[in-house]
């Protein structure tokens, strides 16, 4: 493994985080905005308000959501031993969005602070468990993708249905948000909703490294090495559900991050899933932060969705993977 990879990725993420803080419709000077970021108490003027209440939560969420998606993608690919596994493609994000939308529209989210992330987590959990059961570590790429298509189509349709039936006239137009994701105008409240959930998921997934490494040798070999496969499966399913659930509850379903990032980083860290996990978390954070900066630069006043950019990068990549897979099977 290349030892420089993790520090370099961390540096990249730090740079993009700073960039995210400095980009916005209000043109603020560099020094001014950074000073405003740490201003407190009586000095909190309008600039401080913008930096602390508008841009900081956006940058933090970019970091958290990206890390959650990158990490989940790496864990799923390791566990399912399938390069096409990804929270967006197997329907986890869409199911988390369905859970979040149900919590919001039934008023549960307003009644209890934990209801929103809990419902998103439940939605994500059901879909991961379902796909893992259908495709499983032994399942081929085809079963995985077909199960994923079915789950995401169903979840997307139900999300659209719930939003169309909402008494709120704006709800129906937000189908796009739940399917494409966006970080626009999120506040610290959203950070507090997402962070604990994503943190929990990351902790669970971090424990799976050794098991995933062993699993590369095959299930029997992994069991012979003392890996409890049932526990590993539970940790992956719960970890992915918590991370993707937390991320989707506040940012909508952002696709392709979990697919592209592990693939780009795998050659750099070697083929060990355990090494890929932290690298993918950082890589995912970098990708989402970069996409969110691009969104604001390309169309500052349009609320262009994050998923648009990640799909523009991710979908050709996905086709390329399928192409290679086809060549290998032929």
């Amino acid at each position: 493994m290349n030892r420089a990879v993790l520090p370099l990725l961390a540096l990249l993420v730090a740079g993009l985080f700073l960039g995210s803080l400095l980009v916005g419709p209000a043109a603020l000077g560099l020094g001014e905005s950074l000073r405003a970021l740490v201003a407190g108490g009586q000095e909190r003027d309008a600039v401080a308000l913008v930096m602390q209440e508008v841009r900081l939560p956006r940058a933090l969420l970019g970091l958290l959501v990206g890390a959650a998606l990158g990490l989940s993608g790496a864990a799923l690919q390791g566990f399912l031993r399938n390069p096409l596994a990804e929270p967006g493609l197997i329907g986890t994000s869409a199911s988390a969005a369905l859970g979040a939308v149900i919590a919001l529209q039934t008023g549960l989210a307003a009644a209890h602070a934990l209801a929103l992330p809990a419902a998103a987590l439940a939605g994500a959990g059901v879909s991961v468990a379902l796909v893992a059961a259908i495709a499983g570590p032994r399942g081929g790429a085809l079963t995985l993708i077909l199960a994923g298509i079915a789950v995401s189509a169903l979840a997307a349709a139900l999300t659209a249905l719930v939003l169309n039936l909402s008494p709120n006239p704006f709800a129906a137009s937000e189908i796009v948000f739940w399917m494409m994701g966006s970080l626009a105008d999120r506040s610290m409240l959203h950070v507090w909703v997402a962070a604990p959930c994503i943190g929990l998921g990351a902790l669970l997934l971090a424990t799976t490294g050794r098991g995933l490494d062993a699993l590369t040798l095959g299930e029997d070999a992994a069991e012979a090495l003392g890996v409890n496969l049932a526990r590993l499966r539970l940790a992956v399913v719960a970890g992915v559900a918590a991370a993707v659930g937390g991320a989707t509850a506040v940012a909508g379903a952002v696709g392709f991050v979990g697919l592209v990032v592990p693939h780009l980083l795998r050659p750099l860290v070697g083929a060990r899933p355990a090494a890929l996990l932290p690298a993918s978390a950082l890589g995912g954070a970098a990708m989402v932060l970069a996409a969110d900066i691009a969104v604001r630069l390309i169309a500052p006043d349009r609320d262009l969705k994050l998923g648009v950019l990640t799909a523009i990068v991710g979908a050709p990549f996905f086709l390329h993977l399928i192409w290679r897979l086809r060549a290998r099977l032929a």
Partner: protein
């Protein structure tokens, strides 16, 4: 209505577009029928309310469903006395109107289909200034064949508006902020209401105002609409923590300033009281 008549009516309606194609402008080109229209259907919230204020008893056959929504309409109770439509060409046509009142933003397809079916459709523009309010009241009065009623309503509005005008020592900076970050500029009915109440609008032009720019414009007051039931991300921006100390939710009922109606005066009076409170 008997089943067979309903069925034949439905069949006629289904065939109507074809017939209209075969004989273009069957009736559409005719001059407006002489005398006041006897069966008027309104499919726009603003014309609904003006028609309810101005029409003769029995003249107004149906209004839009929005007229019964207390959030959007200033006259939900009066609308209960009228039949409603959801603004679809089919239901409007089946009420055999000789005049349909629509807004210029009413679904184009509906208006065009009704015209092809030979129905007279009059479109009224969106009211964009206090001046337009009286103009539109008179216009609807004329269309309904009741110009005297239109003139009376407009004159009462203009007198009420003149009575509300007052000098203010200081104009507090205020912003109008709606779902999805939309703001009302100075050249809009809402903007003129704000100005008439003695506020200075921080937004020059209407449109999307990013939250950051709203905060940097340092408004003393942010006036938002009342949230709808259910949840939406579009309205979440109005509850952003950075806005909370500035926000006055529902200081004005949405219904009072979406249309050029007598209710506009109430909005100005209420905002005027708020102005006196903030300017102190």
């Amino acid at each position: 209505m008997s089943v067979s008549r309903a069925a034949s009516r439905a069949l006629a309606l289904a065939l109507a577009p074809c017939l209209a194609l075969a004989a273009p402008a069957a009736g559409a080109g005719e001059a407006a029928p002489p005398g006041p229209p006897a069966r008027v259907v309104s499919i726009n919230l603003c014309t609904d309310q003006l028609a309810m204020l101005l029409a003769a008893p029995g003249q107004l056959v149906a209004v839009s469903y929005l007229a019964r929504d207390p959030r959007a309409s200033t006259m939900p109770d009066a609308a209960m006395a009228h039949d409603i439509t959801y603004g679809q060409a089919e239901e409007v046509f089946l009420r055999r109107p000789d005049l349909v009142l629509a807004g210029t933003y009413t679904t184009r397809a509906t208006v065009e289909l009704l015209r092809r079916l030979g129905v007279r459709v009059e479109e009224l523009p969106v009211v964009e200034s206090l001046q337009d309010v009286g103009t539109q009241m008179r216009a609807v009065g004329r269309l309904l064949g009741r110009p005297a009623e239109g003139e009376r309503l407009a004159a009462a509005f203009e007198a009420g508006l003149a009575a509300l005008r007052r000098e203010v020592a200081r104009r507090p900076r205020a912003a109008l902020y709606y779902a999805n970050g939309w703001t009302g500029g100075r050249a809009s009915l809402a903007g003129e209401i704000l100005a008439a109440a003695g506020f200075a609008n921080v937004a020059e032009a209407g449109g999307i105002l990013p939250l950051e720019q709203l905060l940097l414009a340092r408004p003393e007051l942010v006036i938002t609409g009342e949230p709808y039931p259910g949840a939406s991300r579009a309205e979440e921006i109005l509850a952003h923590p950075a806005l909370l100390p500035l926000r006055r939710e529902g200081a004005i009922a949405d219904a009072e300033w979406v249309c050029g109606l007598p209710g506009v005066l109430k909005a100005i009076a209420r905002l005027g009281a708020l102005q006196a409170e903030v300017a102190r």
